[in-house]
Symmetry: C2
Subunit: 321 residues, 2 copies
C-alpha cells in the first residue's frame, strides 16, 4: 500500500497524544461535514433495494449536472481499483504529479504507465488519467481541452474528486460519451469520508461493466440515504462553497505569515512551498496538527482547512512559534 | 444481475402496500438485529485508520475462532466478486444447488463451471466451492471431509455465510492453510445487512492478494465500529443462537400446519416443499409477507424467521387462510 493522508495513527505513534487531541489536516476532507440525519432502522437491517440505489443515482445526476449513466461505489478509490480491468493492459499516461494510487494500481495490473507533465502529451494513450482540479497542487485543466482530448485517447478518466467546490471545472455534463469516464468523491466535499461513497459517470458500456464488477450491493444503506439527501441539498452545497473559498484565503494568509508560499490548491486543501516539508510537518505535529508531505516534492506541505475557530487558533499559534 | 431475496420493491410493485406494511422473509437476515450503539462523529467524517481496521480483524478472529489472516470486505458478496481473479480462469466445480452468484460471477470471468451434487465430485477442480451450511436447503457438510478435500483441489472456497448459528460446522480454525479460503457474512446473523460487511479468512498470500484488490478503505467507519463491538459480544451471539434455534422449530410447526414439508434449513432460514412455490409465495404476499422462490426448485419456498410477536401472528394468520 502507498502513503496517504488520513494516517493519524502514524502521527500518534510518532508524536503522542490521543486521537481526540489531534486536528487532522492531512487530507482534503471538509471539516464542516454534512449533518447526519435520522436514520430509519431498515437502512441498517435490510439489503439496499434497487429502488433506493436508483434514487441515489438520480440525486447524483442532479448534483453533478448530468443525464449520463451513474454508478454509486464505495468511494472514488474503489473505482480507481477497477480501472485496470476496463480494458486489456496497455499504455497508460497520467498527468503528474498527482494522486499516487492511479500509477500504483495500473502497474500492479500489468499496464505500462508513463507520467507526463502536460495535457497534450496524454494524446495517443490507451488510457489517459487527469485529476481536475489536481491533487496535490490544485492545477486546473480547461474542461474544453479535456473534452477535445477524449477523442485522441482510448479512454479518458477524469478524477473530479475535488471538483464539488469548483463545479465550473467539471465535465460531468459530457459523461455519457463513450471513452470518457468521470470519477466523483462524495466524502471529501461533504466531510463524510468514513461513509465510503463515490460515483462513476460514463458511457453506458463502461458503467454496465463497472456495475457487474462491484455486484448488486456495493454501498451501505446509510451511505445511500445520507448521500441522497446531501446531494439534493443545493443550499448546503452553495453555502459550503462560499465558506470554503473564504477559509482558503484565510489559511493562505496564516501560511504566508509563517513564511510559506502558496503553490496551489482547491478550496478543500492548499499546497505550500515551505523550504523543508518534513520540518514543517514536525513543527505542526508538535502542536498535534497533522499535515501531508510528499516524497516527490520534499519542500511541499499540504494542509486541509481547519474547522471551528478553536482549530484556526491552534493552527495560528503553532505557526507563530 | 441474477435474482436475489431482499427485493421487496418487486413485491410492492406486484402486490401493493407501502414498504413498512411488508414483512420481508425473503432473505435469511436475522430480524432481531444487533443494537446500533452510539456512533462517534469521526466514524462518519474521517477515513478509517489502519488501527481501526486491524482491531476489526482482531474481533473477527476472536468471534470465528481463528488465528488466520483476515480481511474485512463490503459483504460476503464483495468477496465472491473477487474470487475469479485469485487465479487464471480454469475449471471450477460448485456443490449445487446453492447460491447462484458463484456460478454467475465465475462464468462471466471466463471460468468453466460445473455443478456437482456431492463433495467427492469436487476433487480435481482448480477451484471448488461449497456453501456450509448450504443455502437454500441447509445441507450440512462435515468440516473434516472438507478439510481433506482441500488438498485435492487447487483452491477450496467455503462460504460460511450462515455458519454463525451452527459454529460447529466452521473450518475457520484451519483457514490459515494455503489453498483454503473461507467467506463469512456479518450482516445475516447480526441482522445488519445494510451495513455491507463480511470477511475473508485464508492463507497469507490469498488474503494479501484480496487486500490489494479492495484497496485501503473497503469498509465504512460505522461498519468497522459496529462490527467490532458485535463480534466481541459473545453473550449476544450465544443468546441469539438459542433464540434462532427455538424460533426455527416454531416456524416449522406453523409451516407443517399449512401442509408444507421441511426440506432443510439453518436457524436463519427454512426451505419448504409446498407443492407449488409460486402459489405459496402469492398466498403469503397477499398478506404482505415476502418469501423466496427458486427457478430450479419450483415447488420450494424459503422463509426467513419472523421477528416480533406481531410478525409471527401475521404469518400464522396468512397460512391458516
Amino acid at each position: 500500500m502507498i502513503d496517504h493522508g488520513g494516517n493519524l495513527d502514524v502521527a500518534q505513534r510518532r508524536f503522542g497524544g490521543r486521537p481526540e487531541d489531534w486536528i487532522d489536516l492531512s487530507t482534503g476532507i471538509n471539516r464542516h461535514p454534512y449533518p447526519i440525519p435520522e436514520l430509519p432502522a431498515h437502512l441498517w437491517n435490510a439489503l439496499p433495494s434497487r429502488a433506493e440505489i436508483e434514487s441515489l443515482h438520480g440525486a447524483a445526476r442532479q448534483a453533478y449536472g448530468t443525464t449520463a449513466p451513474v454508478l454509486a461505489i464505495a468511494g472514488a478509490q474503489a473505482a480507481i481499483e477497477l480501472l485496470p480491468r476496463l480494458a486489456p493492459p496497455g499504455a497508460a499516461k497520467i498527468l503528474v504529479p498527482t494522486y499516487g494510487e492511479f500509477g500504483h494500481v495500473l502497474r500492479a495490473a500489468g499496464w505500462s504507465v508513463e507520467g507526463v507533465s502536460d495535457v497534450e502529451s496524454l494524446a495517443g494513450a490507451d488510457l489517459a488519467i487527469v485529476v481536475n482540479p489536481n491533487n496535490p497542487d490544485g492545477r486546473h485543466h480547461d474542461p474544453q481541452w479535456l473534452k477535445a482530448l477524449a477523442s485522441r485517447v482510448g479512454r479518458l478518466v477524469i478524477d473530479e474528486s475535488f471538483a464539488d467546490a469548483v463545479p465550473e471545472l467539471s465535465l460531468a455534463s459530457q459523461a455519457g460519451r463513450a471513452g470518457l469516464l468521470i470519477l466523483r468523491s462524495f466524502g471529501k466535499f461533504y466531510g463524510l469520508a468514513g461513509l465510503r461513497l463515490g460515483f462513476a459517470l460514463g458511457g453506458e458500456a463502461d458503467i454496465a461493466m463497472l456495475a457487474r464488477m462491484v455486484g448488486p450491493w456495493p454501498v451501505s444503506g446509510v451511505a445511500i440515504e445520507i448521500g441522497r439527501r446531501a446531494l439534493l441539498d443545493r443550499a448546503w452545497a452553495n453555502q459550503t462553497r462560499v465558506w470554503l473559498t473564504r477559509d482558503a484565503k484565510r489559511i493562505d494568509e496564516t501560511a504566508r505569515n509563517a513564511g510559506w508560499e502558496l503553490v496551489g490548491g482547491t478550496p478543500l486543501f492548499r499546497l505550500y512551498e515551505t523550504g523543508d516539508g518534513a520540518r514543517a510537518q514536525e513543527r505542526l505535529a508538535r502542536a498535534q496538527i497533522w499535515s501531508r508531505v510528499f516524497k516527490d516534492g520534499p519542500s511541499w506541505l499540504r494542509l486541509g482547512l481547519p474547522g471551528d475557530e478553536t482549530e484556526w487558533q491552534r493552527l495560528s499559534m503553532a505557526l507563530s512559534r
